[in-house]
Symmetry: D2
Subunit: 338 residues, 4 copies
Amino acid sequence: MIIVTKPEATEEQIDHIIERIAEWGFKTDVSRGAMRTVIGVIGEEGAIREKPIAAIAGVESVTPVLKPYKLVAREFRGGNDSVVKIGGVAIGGPEIVIMSGPCSVENREQITSIAADIKSAGAKVLRGGAFKPRTSPYAFQGLGLEGLKLLAEAREVTGLPVITEIMDTKDLEMIEQYADCLQIGARNMQNFSLLKEVGRSKLPVMLKRGMSATIKDLLMSAEYILSEGNFNVLLCERGIRTFETYTRNTLDLNAVPVLKAETHLPVVVDPTHGVGLREHIGAMALAAVAAGADALMVEVHNSPELAKSDGEQALLPQEFADLVARVKKVAEAVGRSV
Amino acid sequence: MIIVTKPEATEEQIDHIIERIAEWGFKTDVSRGAMRTVIGVIGEEGAIREKPIAAIAGVESVTPVLKPYKLVAREFRGGNDSVVKIGGVAIGGPEIVIMSGPCSVENREQITSIAADIKSAGAKVLRGGAFKPRTSPYAFQGLGLEGLKLLAEAREVTGLPVITEIMDTKDLEMIEQYADCLQIGARNMQNFSLLKEVGRSKLPVMLKRGMSATIKDLLMSAEYILSEGNFNVLLCERGIRTFETYTRNTLDLNAVPVLKAETHLPVVVDPTHGVGLREHIGAMALAAVAAGADALMVEVHNSPELAKSDGEQALLPQEFADLVARVKKVAEAVGRSV
Amino acid sequence: MIIVTKPEATEEQIDHIIERIAEWGFKTDVSRGAMRTVIGVIGEEGAIREKPIAAIAGVESVTPVLKPYKLVAREFRGGNDSVVKIGGVAIGGPEIVIMSGPCSVENREQITSIAADIKSAGAKVLRGGAFKPRTSPYAFQGLGLEGLKLLAEAREVTGLPVITEIMDTKDLEMIEQYADCLQIGARNMQNFSLLKEVGRSKLPVMLKRGMSATIKDLLMSAEYILSEGNFNVLLCERGIRTFETYTRNTLDLNAVPVLKAETHLPVVVDPTHGVGLREHIGAMALAAVAAGADALMVEVHNSPELAKSDGEQALLPQEFADLVARVKKVAEAVGRSV
Amino acid sequence: MIIVTKPEATEEQIDHIIERIAEWGFKTDVSRGAMRTVIGVIGEEGAIREKPIAAIAGVESVTPVLKPYKLVAREFRGGNDSVVKIGGVAIGGPEIVIMSGPCSVENREQITSIAADIKSAGAKVLRGGAFKPRTSPYAFQGLGLEGLKLLAEAREVTGLPVITEIMDTKDLEMIEQYADCLQIGARNMQNFSLLKEVGRSKLPVMLKRGMSATIKDLLMSAEYILSEGNFNVLLCERGIRTFETYTRNTLDLNAVPVLKAETHLPVVVDPTHGVGLREHIGAMALAAVAAGADALMVEVHNSPELAKSDGEQALLPQEFADLVARVKKVAEAVGRSV
């Protein structure tokens, strides 16, 4: 921790800062300049990070030296990658995994048919929402338990493991009975009660980046889950909110190489929500793989114009199959497989 | 709803759009231009809003004519303001209400002493966190039930009604026993399970704007609460996330007159989190009142450099008292009182 | 300057960093931690700021201790405010100055009539664009020299000094003949050639904040002007670009108290462009004054629906007169006058 | 153009809107709803776009049906791609072109040596700044004319055509004598005087996207250049400003497929400024190619830690050569070559 004082800080104020830090059990290294004094704090940084040093009179800035996350940091695994399994499917290894399915589970015929389609196209994990976080209270909110049962049936038929979103701590036990992976949506990325709860689950968790979450915020939210004991966490880039309105969100592919460098956790990219325009999802999926993503999540619907949610950004099964073929080529160009 | 087709849309595609809308039970008004066709959809817009029209081939854009919210809209109250009561304190009338207290409840002495200080300075509602949404799992998470009891004790002593944050649907019953108003924090603004739950409470709710929530998003989240039957909702502007890093957030005072025009619900401004720099909270509090806010929420601590959270942005009791005096003058200049 | 090394930095790399800094003529203060080494650079920071220290192998971060601006810093004037004069009108003193006029000069009758209206309402400076920065090449681009002459005529009649925008270094001599103050628009805030050129002018300059300029960027652009010898600079907050689309821009009033603390230069607020919605300009003007602005710039037109630019955000003369009366009350509430 | 009226609009107001539009020479198609009236304006939209319709009493919103750009629109070329030549190098065809060189020209030895290195690695165009837009007036501002001469010498030696930045209308003639392509930097993307000036040049122009420019803004700025007669324009995505601070900017690759769909002009991506972190430039370069970019611009320096600008984000010549080999593979995976 490095403290810089204000130009007008008095000697008394500087002495008080140093004393306060000593009271908290830390040593200091003080370097007095013409304008400002620089105070280095020596000792275990985690312990002093939460102290309100900036509240002490005379302090201009407080800069941490270490990262605020520990368990998710790449160094924690000695620089190695973590591999997270959904059912029997490994994410984070050499193979790029494609997850797919509709936005919402709507009925048996819909989910079973789409599950079969995406499996034959090359998808390895089935997605589908039973609990839907919709901006409007008047929009379709998902089938709930019925949707979970239909997902489990589709798994039975196709063998594809299932990922689905959890929105409420109350629903964890129920969802655990049917799903293979829990999804935390972007709007709940800082729902800390929910993060703690899934941190106690046996299931892996895919954590989506919030719309205005920095990469650091995302890692801190993942840290919540790991700190409760669940190390099977996937991070998902799904677009951030910027001033640009042509695209639904701004898929931030910069986050892919940054996350791969900062953390051992696998990185998933969701181009569907990221760009939000059906005709551009393919280009962004290819770019995500070239940038280093470990997995993709792409929405597919067999009748988008009748979909109960997000039909305008779903690919048709045939479009999806074509995309998988193109993804395969780019994956090979960067030394991976699909 | 106004649909504009792509320049390359075929006659068949345009016919299919019109048929699909007819199947959904709506009439259309079609105007064919040289480049694009404009299709007006006639009928109850709420019913067609959720249809995936943009997924139909040939559609370029879909523009709603009506607002997506009903219950929160100013017109719903015939243009009148709603007045929401916390305990006996009315917010939304001529008087500007000041809510204050520490970020977190830390112990009996702390909360009781601060409560007494802010009351004598002119605050009408006591705030204090018992459940704290902290970015880091290693930071102080609040006293929980113990904190709620201490808040109730401070109310006993001072007579000030209490507002405190709820983070989990599981905690509602417990918090209802101790608090006079529920706060939904910025990070939970789109935690729709929580919104529905507090929508069934008897207590009023203060809903804070999310860090990347548009004004429309905020109103839609409020609509969730009202649609469950709870009309006692306050909206709180507390700063949005922008590219500017000098300030902790960017307090968006533009939202104040906009919200006052769009909705009948009272508007609260939280300059503490909004600007996040102790020395500038006062200026932003005055500006909020000049912009038309109905209430202010300002954090106060009697020993900021020992606070367990956010000490760097808490005012001292004396600074707060001075601020209330200045707020009073600006309130009077705009025809209100404190 | 404080340098922090990467965890994996080798001893050779750390030695090389120290040597390189020594070659540049600076001393270092090295503090080796378990994970990272912290190197303080001792000496005149301005001279080392531009060195590519971050390019040296093993460096994780480089944090300056001092501010990058000197001449615009509040300390440069010993903590005092600068007062800048446009014609005989002083900005930056106790009186809040209101500048007004149409977006564009359109013809003699228009500018003379509006000038008379705003003068009688209480404005002290006349604004009007002769060179207009329009997003579209097909939009009205301003009357050019003819517009400048009409502005000078309106000054003749009313006695109001004139501020107008300069867009091209080539036009400086011509504009200097007619105007009392040069305006640099938001889109040219980092047109460094133009900044240098107006830095050599005898006229005062009002520099508008760019749409994505941080407060620091704005101050650095002002530093360009002062560094060429022109100290008569006004800074103008006129709204930044954020994700919010309800308002045209997001007027960032947080910048007002921050700028007043950081620099001695006067601060102007332009609520017209800032919020961009006619009905909310008044609220934001009042808020700007409460936040500490030294001057306001508000657009007025006597026939907005026939204006050649920005008619939708112009106030009518009578609306403007009413606003001035309200501004006066708020100014007095914060100890100033109009 | 589609006009929607306010719920409280009176019959008189609606009639006045229709009359005003008739006065401007347009017909209307009026559809009266329960809450709002929708008025379609029939006729050449370009002619009515600049009218201040939103300023007319009773108007709630004005939505254009057509795009505001014409010459840059893909339809203008009948759906075909434009190919722009820099010297003899074609950009916009099947081959992906790599432009490279240092941030600034520093001296003969530096530019000649780097030019030779990048040529042998596979670059086809040499970049180098002679006029540098630096945030600080105290930073290296470029060698000016001397820099241009050194660039021309490097071209002489290597045969690589040269692209360099123009910052001031005054410099056009001089730069035209030495360069093969003009670059408009991000900070000047809306310097409309400069856009008009380069629109009259014989040289091709690479226009960089401004830090807060929407895709539409970028296209409108390109429209300025084409509307003056210069159709040889390249568009360059180089990162936008968002809330994320880990990366220097947020390289917005979503813009690549969007621009390829909207315009016939070739699209260049600059990952160096886009992500701004040396270790992640390679990943973003690969992703840009996968997303559909026609060209890349990558900065290289042979001694980054002694560079006069931006050394921290320059690749070493050997790193660049390795990157070109990887780019080649991804280009082939998407059916293109290098």
